[in-house]
């Protein structure tokens, strides 16, 4: 999850990161994986695509899920790097902490002072951390066969795509359920009317902590990739409990 103050990053002062329009198309993931499998050159990527993905009409309850969170040095996948990765496998019923994974990796770009403060990851930890290339095997094995669960798909997918391009010469695609987007469906359906703006109404925050709060989930200390992955997984369970059913097809949710 990315928490840095936008102003500190010199980004336009938007409330939340925006998604690119192209991202809103939902591919037919099983056939997309077949194509990607044929084109992939790296053995590990081939194996990842070969593991396939569930069919679009699979009920949520039967879909293997993996909650994922990256801590990054900034917002731009081309300029900034991944600092840490948290993964927790889950189903709708149970999030399994025992199979969780947590890595700190050495970013290609330097670590800014702000990132040190925010993530609590220090320069010395980074110095002794491996490069992402050393965890790719394990990472892709954990990803294989799962639908990823993230809060704001503008981070995890593009950052991993760029990181792999830089290291393997080819990127990666995979289906995600974006818990932030599920919140946006509810709270960003239409813009506030001029009257609401006149009254000074703010749109409801769809950030992770605020979204969790709406479902009466407890407050977790942010900025730890593993905790944020867990927090995202719990949010999905809550969203489904309140707004969907275990029988809802994965097609309705994934991107």
């Amino acid at each position: 999850m990315f928490y840095l103050d936008k102003e500190k990053l010199g980004l336009p002062g938007k409330q939340e990161p925006q998604l690119q329009a192209a991202d809103s198309e939902v591919p037919d993931w099983p056939s997309r994986f077949k194509v990607l499998h044929q084109h992939a050159k790296d053995k590990r990527l081939q194996a990842f695509y070969d593991a396939g993905v569930v069919a679009g009409d699979t009920p949520l309850a039967e879909t293997p899920l993996l909650a994922v969170d990256f801590e990054t040095t900034g917002f731009n996948p081309r300029k900034n790097s991944i600092v840490s990765i948290g993964l927790v496998p889950m189903t709708l019923k149970r999030i399994r902490c025992h199979a969780a994974k947590h890595w700190i990796v050495k970013p290609l770009s330097g670590l800014s002072q702000e990132s040190v403060v925010i993530h609590g990851i220090t320069h010395s930890e980074i110095q002794h951390a491996p490069d992402l290339s050393q965890v790719i095997d394990e990472l892709l094995q954990a990803f294989a066969g799962h639908v990823m669960v993230v809060h704001h798909r503008g981070i995890e997918r593009p950052f991993l795509n760029e990181a792999l391009k830089a290291r393997l010469g080819e990127g990666i695609e995979f289906p995600v359920i974006d818990t932030m987007e599920l919140e946006a469906r509810l709270h960003r359906q239409k813009r506030l009317s001029w009257w609401q703006r006149f009254l000074g109404r703010q749109p409801l925050s769809i950030r992770l902590a605020d979204s969790r709060n709406r479902y009466h989930l407890p407050w977790y200390r942010p900025h730890d990739a593993l905790t944020d992955a867990l927090a995202t997984g719990e949010l999905l369970q809550a969203q489904v409990a309140h707004r969907f059913t275990p029988e809802t097809p994965i097609n309705d949710l994934w991107k």
């Binding site: 994974k101 479902y215 905790t227 719990e234």
Partner: protein, 616 residues
């Protein structure tokens, strides 16, 4: 490498029984946790389904039910459930429903089993049987003997009395007489260090019997190889030292300086007669004003017994003996003031004092039986004045007037024996609710002064007429159900059976009193002549009228509730507040909460059994 689940570790660390686990075990436990979300109203566990994890409430609230649909418990953050099923046969025994949106942490069975087997405190906390846990809680405290837990410094009541070694034996003896001490520490004239000790016995054996002169310097006859004890050592260690070295006096030292002297007599008095000490001073006071100064000593001896882990029976008896002594001394003084009584009488103690279950917060329930020759016109003025004298005296000593006016100053309760006999015959013969209103007071009676055998007569009458009187027993049983225990605690509230919340609980009205009431019914049914609830329970258990083990359960429940009540009174005294019977849940330890809930459950079941055992 196992991932570190900081948030989960931090959460578990905040709640027992996990808070007692070593850090590395906690981290390992956290790494095995599974998580699930349940929306408000959702069923978490159904009866009979298989269960594979201990359920811990991370956030929200959960209600746990009995199979018949009765609410069993309501849990908030940190509460856990599912342990019964896990420890029994892996099937859910108590279904659970999310009362609010709830996040549950699951502790898989393998991890739970490992914790249960390897960590005693964890096992105690989740023990299957309510009553087993309660018994452990009660017995663990009973093991603590006051000799083993009290430190020597408690016995030091004054600075040491000393004399310089160059002074004469006569001067030393004079000093001891003036100061009323049985030993004297001898100091070096220059350094002022303690160099020896002399005792009464030394004066006898080494001076008088040996025919030495009284002008001899005291250094000639003192014992020089001093056996001392550190102020922080335990009383029992002091006793062992005395036995080992055959000494009756030990200087008590701290940082090389004598703080005082502890004598064998101090230990003996401390161990067995500490409340008798208060009692003996009661009989040395000459008027109400002097007596009232003892109220603080009564409180102090109460607090001391609580801090020494005395059980409720010991404390209740000691307080009752003290209360009786006040009455006796006041009657003695009253008779001195008003002259001898015109006809014989008996002064009665009723209720908790008669049962030897008194605490600090108590009102004066008392009454008078007068001789059958009593003539109101001629005699009543005397007895009214006497009753008034005693009642005002008791009030001055901290025993508040009875709010229900059950006192000998009330004419109804100041009557000849034949009237009392008629009272009891009527109550027993026509046990309507109004008649039984005061049964918890009048059916526990004890003579404290005068013709105490009349109290025995009334007790005999009660036993004769109630034991084989199913109608009366059924009415008493109904009456004993008037006051019920709460279900347990939720957050900082007392939770009632209907799910409503209260801010505090009256531990007498909702705890000790209903237990004493139900024990009384069984006691009357089996013809027990005991008055103390614990002694009555022994008679009841021996008579075999309860299902096996239930009598012991009731005993444990009464002991636990009594101790919580007593402990909170002692705490109030120590903090300079006026003690009362109300306890707020936020002042209960987790240990007390868990065990109180069990005790309330036992009480509730025992009340149900009462209805069944004595049908109308």
């Amino acid at each position: 490498m196992e991932a570190e689940h900081l948030e989960i570790v931090d959460f578990l660390r905040r709640f027992p029984p996990f808070s007692k686990l070593p850090e590395e075990v906690l981290a390992k436990t956290a790494s095995h946790v599974e998580v699930g979300y349940f929306k408000e109203g959702e069923q978490i566990l159904e009866f009979g389904q298989s269960i594979d994890a201990l359920h811990v409430v991370r956030s929200g609230a959960v209600e746990v039910f009995r199979r018949n649909g009765d609410l069993y418990n309501r849990l908030s953050e940190g509460g856990f459930f599912g342990e019964f099923g896990l420890l029994r046969n892996g099937k859910v025994r108590f279904p659970a429903v999310a009362l609010e949106d709830s996040l549950i942490y699951f502790l898989p069975e393998a991890v739970f089993t490992e914790l249960f087997e390897n960590h005693e405190l964890f096992a105690d906390a989740v023990e299957v049987e309510d009553r087993t846990r309660l018994r452990q809680a009660v017995s663990r405290r009973e093991d603590a003997n006051q000799l083993m837990t009290s430190r020597v410094i408690r016995l030091v009541t004054r600075e040491p009395v000393t004399i310089e070694s160059t002074l004469s034996v006569r001067a030393a003896a004079q000093r001891m007489s003036e100061e009323k001490v049985s030993s004297l520490l001898i100091t070096d004239t220059e350094s002022q260090d303690i160099v020896g000790i002399i005792t009464d016995k030394d004066l006898r054996n080494r001076v008088v019997a040996a025919g030495l002169g009284y002008d001899l310097p005291v250094s000639e006859i003192m014992s020089v190889n001093l056996i001392t004890i550190n102020a922080r050592q335990f009383v029992f260690e002091a006793m062992l030292e005395m036995l080992r070295h055959n000494r009756h006096h030990l200087p008590v030292m701290r940082h090389g300086k004598a703080l005082g002297v502890v004598a064998l007599a101090d230990i003996i008095r401390y161990e067995s007669q500490n409340s008798l000490f208060v009692v003996s001073s009661i009989f040395r006071q000459h008027n109400i004003e002097e007596l009232s100064t003892l109220a603080k000593d009564v409180k102090a001896s109460f607090v001391r017994m609580v801090n020494e882990d005395a059980n409720s029976h010991m404390i209740g008896s000691a307080m009752a003996v003290i209360g009786r002594s006040f009455k006796q001394r006041l009657l003695e003084l009253g008779e001195e003031l008003l002259g001898p009584p015109p006809v014989p009488y008996c002064f009665l103690a009723l209720g908790s004092m008669a049962r030897d279950e008194q605490t600090l917060v108590t009102d004066q329930d008392n009454a008078m039986i007068l001789d059958n020759r009593f003539d109101p016109k001629e005699h009543d003025e005397y007895f009214f004045k006497l009753a008034e004298f005693v009642s005002n005296g008791l009030a001055a000593c901290g025993y508040t007037y009875c709010s229900g006016d059950i006192m000998a100053t009330n004419k109804t309760w100041r009557q000849p024996l034949k009237v009392w006999e008629k009272y009891f015959s009527d109550w027993i013969g026509h046990p309507d609710p109004a008649a039984l209103l005061h049964s918890s007071i009048f059916f526990d009676l004890d003579g404290v002064w005068g013709k105490v055998e009349w109290a025995d007569k009334l007790n005999d009458l009660i036993h004769r007429n109630t034991q084989r009187n199913p109608r009366f027993l059924a009415c008493m049983a109904r009456n004993a159900l008037n006051r019920t225990p709460p279900l347990g605690f939720f957050k900082d509230f007392v939770m009632e059976k209907d799910g409503k919340h209260n801010n505090s609980i009256n531990m007498k009205r909702r705890g000790t009193a209903p237990v004493a009431d139900l024990i009384r019914v069984h006691a009357l049914a089996v013809g027990s002549k005991s008055r103390n609830s614990f002694e009555r329970l022994q008679d009841i258990i021996a008579a075999n009228i309860l299902p096996s083990g239930r009598g012991q359960d009731i005993r444990d429940a009464l002991e636990l509730i009594s101790r919580v009540r007593i402990r909170h009174q002692a705490l109030a005294v120590e903090e300079g507040r006026e003690p009362n019977n109300n306890v707020a849940p936020e002042n209960l330890s987790d240990f007390e909460r868990k065990n109180l809930k069990d005790a309330f459950q036992i009480l509730s079941n025992a009340q149900k059994f009462l209805k069944f055992r004595y049908p109308l």
